[in-house]
């Protein structure tokens, strides 16, 4: 196992320990298909917040690369999934799936780094019942110290940078771990390993 495989392995282990679902895909396009499928599968589940019914078929993807947007719309249409890229705020009671593209991964905590200056980027990762992050496996580093240069650059001007390690959780009642408090009920990380199907 080379070093890159090693950190990916550790990342996967720690992300799973933090209750994230980790899968791999050969391309971002595959990751998009995964998210659409997830949204279609979950659309029938009752929302966790009253009034959330209207967002059950919504997939919010505010940062989809332009070249993949038509594919996303198409795939959504085929599965009965509505795709939005802005005004996530109009769905305060939740959307079914939020889709983000992670900037970096940190192996020893199973963390994804996500720059989200835009309000919609943030809200897609907060108001979605299921948050899906596509993360190029090549961006994974061993520890947070290895991400310092990147973070330092991100903090050079106005920026909201998030470390995301699992979904929203609490142990505030009797110290019993419960997933899904105010944010996503679950987090799916799709590791993109280019060239591998």
């Amino acid at each position: 196992m080379n070093n890159t495989e090693h950190v990916v392995d550790i990342f996967t282990q720690n992300a799973r320990a933090a209750s994230s679902t980790v899968v791999t895909a050969g391309s971002l396009r595959e990751a998009v298909d995964y998210a659409v499928r997830l949204c279609a599968d979950n659309a029938g589940i009752p929302p966790s917040v009253p009034g959330g019914e209207e967002g059950r078929d919504i997939l919010a993807a505010p940062d989809m690369p332009a070249d993949l947007w038509p594919h996303l719309v198409e795939a959504g249409k085929a599965k009965g999934v509505r795709v939005i890229d802005k005004n996530v705020r109009e769905h305060p009671n939740g959307v079914c799936v939020g889709f983000s593209v992670g900037d970096m991964g940190i192996a020893n905590t199973g963390t994804v780094i996500l720059r989200c200056y835009k309000e919609d980027t943030r809200l897609a990762s907060m108001l979605a019942e299921t948050h899906v992050i596509a993360l190029p496996a090549s961006t994974i580093v061993a520890t947070s110290y290895d991400a310092e240069d990147f973070l330092q650059q991100a903090m050079a001007g106005p920026m909201y940078t998030a470390f995301i390690s699992g979904c929203s959780r609490t142990s505030d009642i009797e110290r019993v771990l419960t997933l899904g408090v105010h944010g996503p009920l679950s987090l799916h990380i799709i590791l993109i390993q280019e060239g591998q199907a």
């Binding site: 933090a18 009671n93 907060m126 998030a162 142990s171 009797e174």
Partner: protein, 726 residues
């Protein structure tokens, strides 16, 4: 708000109520045990001591230049569109935030967790202005609905059961909510979502304020912090000046330890790094209206206070409460004002004043467990003792402390009194403090342990008759007795004499040695503590001994850690203290490291005592002196040592503490003995006469299931008598 600020009697009464709360007791007990295991697992792959040392060093440097970091932060953040404020007092901080609300016509506020906002009592200040404030962290929301303060910095509602949460939720929603935890969490999700969506202002705290980039860092698990900082059009962060760090690296370093130390979690689900005002689509400029309020409220003054400034290293992980044997029994409402645990006792004094701290500051048993786990390496017990001194110096000492202080300044008077007490042995002296270090003799109201009496002949009275037996040997050893051994357990010292002499030691016992001074230190009597330190240093000054051996871990730990501090500024004694401290050695380490005691020295075959032996690791030995291996090696060599759970948890003695808070002390003892008896061992060994007193006294009441021995007694009874003296 809690009720810890009345008289000491009222405080003790309220403690009894907490002790009677069975749910609380059980919850905190399970938590203490679970926490211990998860912390070990969380640090498995990290040199935690090294990271903690780095954190302490970096924090120390940061608090020495808070002003400079503040200026730098302000410049950076303002360049990125944030308005930065500095409030000298809690009231000023609240006024600034109320003004921001008024200026922006904010009527509804949502908050994520902030201890600083708790400290400034921000919520009542906002409510007074007619503004709705809703806490969104689940635990904080629960206690807000119950009109309570947090009982833990990380788990604010740890004192409540699911039934109590269901009750308060039912009152809030107006319908019966089921007492099922995942259902209750969903109630919070449901009820609070509307609050998030309609709030005009979001208030958060900040775990870090990075000066270099003007960034704040917020660690949360629930995701509420992210919604609070994103949805409303106005964003306010409130934080202490002590949260300023120079660089991102400093913050990342703290994150490595913070949640691992708090709950055993690798990292919180979310860490949000907010640099400047970010996009908000509700605003005409599509930028957030963002303010950051830095609170001083005593921090600048504390930073300039050499004896206590380390309290500002705190990263608010709450671990000092997690491991505290007192917290484990009484919970946060009795162990803090707003901040809780050991750091709470300290910050209450500095942020909220002497009056709020005067009772709390007494409620530390000085077991050192907090210091051992502190994420920022703070010597919490030492700062607590310093505050006791200051309170006594500013407000006058309570009579018992004053009397003990007076008596201990004069060794002859002290020893005369102890001998006098031998004849009295009863309540004439009850309430006078010198007996409080030997509380067993006179104390009343302690039903969980029997009390030893002062012996007819103290060790110092026997010594003139014994000394001639110990004048031969190649190694000269000084014996530091300490009061408890000298006046209660001279036979333990004699056992040690036998063991040392067997290994070619000759022994000196300087007669002018006195109490080590720990009891007066614990009671905040600084001048008496200094006087006893000097007397003991003088007593051993010209003896020429290579080692000064003590059988009392508390004396040893006090001498080692506190003498250098007490005498640091004394031109005559600072060097002498260092030399004395360098020679101090606890008996178990001395027996193994110097005298090379091992299996060969103890009875074998039919002569070997086969009954199991369990161990109580004295706080001041394992944490105070860092000795863990040698006693266990000795027990394995001389007997059948059986390891038990929580060997290093306090026995509840704590010297003067067991007299000040007998209810707590005896509850800790009961739990300790329950665990030890369950091992099925016949012998219980420890390295401190205070622990012997506590444990033996407890066993006396419980029918002597365990034979409690000092290590020296234990070893001497198991010597291989067939083997010639070396």
């Amino acid at each position: 708000m809690n009720t810890n600020t009345g008289t000491l009697r009222e405080y003790r009464k309220s403690i009894q109520e907490a002790l009677d709360d069975e749910y609380l007791r059980k919850t905190l007990d399970t938590f203490a045990v679970d926490y211990h295991a998860s912390r070990i697992a969380a640090f498995k792959t990290m040199d935690e001591k090294e990271v903690i040392r780095e954190i302490a060093e970096a924090k120390d440097s940061a608090i020495s230049r808070m002003d400079e970091l503040y200026t730098q932060f302000k410049e950076k953040a303002e360049a990125n569109g944030v308005m930065v404020h500095r409030a000298d007092t809690a009231e000023e901080a609240n006024a600034i935030i109320c003004a921001i609300a008024a200026e922006n016509a904010c009527k509804k506020i949502i908050k994520s967790k902030s201890m600083t906002a708790e400290e400034t009592l921000l919520n009542p200040a906002l409510l007074e202005k007619g503004i709705e404030v809703v806490e969104t962290d689940l635990g904080e929301w629960i206690i807000q609905l119950r009109h309570e303060s947090p009982t833990h910095m990380v788990l604010p509602a740890i004192h409540l059961s699911r039934n109590q949460v269901a009750d308060v939720f039912s009152q809030t929603t107006g319908k019966k909510e089921e007492a099922d935890i995942s259902t209750l969490v969903k109630v919070a999700r449901r009820e609070l979502r509307e609050k998030f969506a309609t709030a005009d202002m979001g208030i958060s705290g900040a775990n870090f304020a990075i000066a270099d980039t003007g960034t704040i860092g917020i660690c949360t698990n629930e995701g509420n912090g992210r919604l609070v900082t994103t949805l409303p059009r106005v964003q306010v962060a409130i934080t202490g000046l002590d949260k300023l760090v120079p660089t991102l690296h400093d913050a990342l370093r703290i994150i490595r330890v913070l949640s691992r130390n708090a709950t055993g979690q690798n990292i919180t689900s979310y860490v949000s790094w907010i640099t400047g005002a970010t996009e908000c689509r509700l605003d005409p400029d599509e930028r957030k209206i963002m303010h950051i309020v830095f609170v001083d409220n005593g921090r600048t003054q504390l930073a300039a206070d050499p004896a206590c400034k380390d309290a500002l290293h705190c990263v608010r992980c709450g671990a000092c409460a997690n491991v505290c044997p007192v917290y484990r029994l009484v919970g946060g409402h009795k162990m803090g004002y707003i901040y809780i645990g050991a750091i709470g006792l300290i910050l209450t004094y500095f942020f909220h004043g002497a009056d709020k701290a005067k009772n709390l500051i007494l409620n530390c048993i000085n077991c050192g467990a907090c210091k051992e786990v502190c994420a920022a390496g703070i010597d919490l017990p030492a700062i607590i003792q310093e505050i006791r001194c200051r309170l006594n110096e500013s407000q006058g000492s309570p009579l018992p402390a004053k009397l003990l202080g007076m008596v201990l300044k004069d060794r002859k008077r002290f020893h005369t009194l102890l001998k006098f007490a031998k004849w009295v042995q009863k309540p004439v002296t009850a309430g006078t403090p010198f007996v409080r270090h030997l509380p067993s003799i006179f104390d009343v109201g302690q039903n969980s342990r029997a009390l030893p009496a002062i012996v007819d002949d103290a060790f110092r009275d026997r010594w003139p008759y014994l000394c001639h037996e110990y004048t031969e040997g190649s190694r000269l050893v000084g014996l530091f007795a300490g009061c408890a051994l000298d006046f209660l357990y001279p036979e333990q010292l004699e056992a040690a004499l036998t063991l040392m002499h067997r290994k070619d030691c000759r022994i000196v016992f300087p007669f002018e040695q006195s109490c080590c001074g720990l009891p007066v230190q614990m009671m905040g009597q600084r001048t008496a503590a200094v006087a006893t330190a000097k007397a003991n240093i003088d007593a051993f000054e010209n003896t020429g001994c290579e080692y000064v051996v003590t059988l009392c871990a508390s004396c040893g730990s006090h001498i080692k850690h506190t003498y250098p501090l007490l005498l640091a500024d004394d031109p005559e004694y600072s060097a002498k203290a260092e030399s004395f401290v360098g020679r101090i050695k606890d008996f178990s380490s001395f027996a193994v490291d110097v005298l090379d005691y091992g299996e060969k020295d103890f009875a074998v075959g039919d002569d070997k005592i086969r009954d199991g032996v369990c161990y109580h690791c004295a706080c001041h030995l394992c944490r105070g002196l860092g000795v863990t291996q040698q006693p266990r090696a000795l027990m394995r060599a001389a007997g059948d040592y059986q390891q038990t759970a929580e060997e290093d948890t306090c026995c509840g003695f704590g010297g003067t503490y067991s007299v000040e808070f007998p209810e707590i002390s005896s509850q800790i003892l009961i739990k300790k003995l329950d665990r030890l008896e369950a091992s099925g061992a016949r012998y219980l060994v420890t390295d401190c006469p205070g622990c012997v007193m506590q444990l033996r006294g407890g066993e006396e009441k419980r029918g002597r299931k365990l034979v409690v021995q000092h290590m020296a007694e234990f070893l001497v009874a198991r010597l291989n008598t067939k083997q010639a003296k070396e």
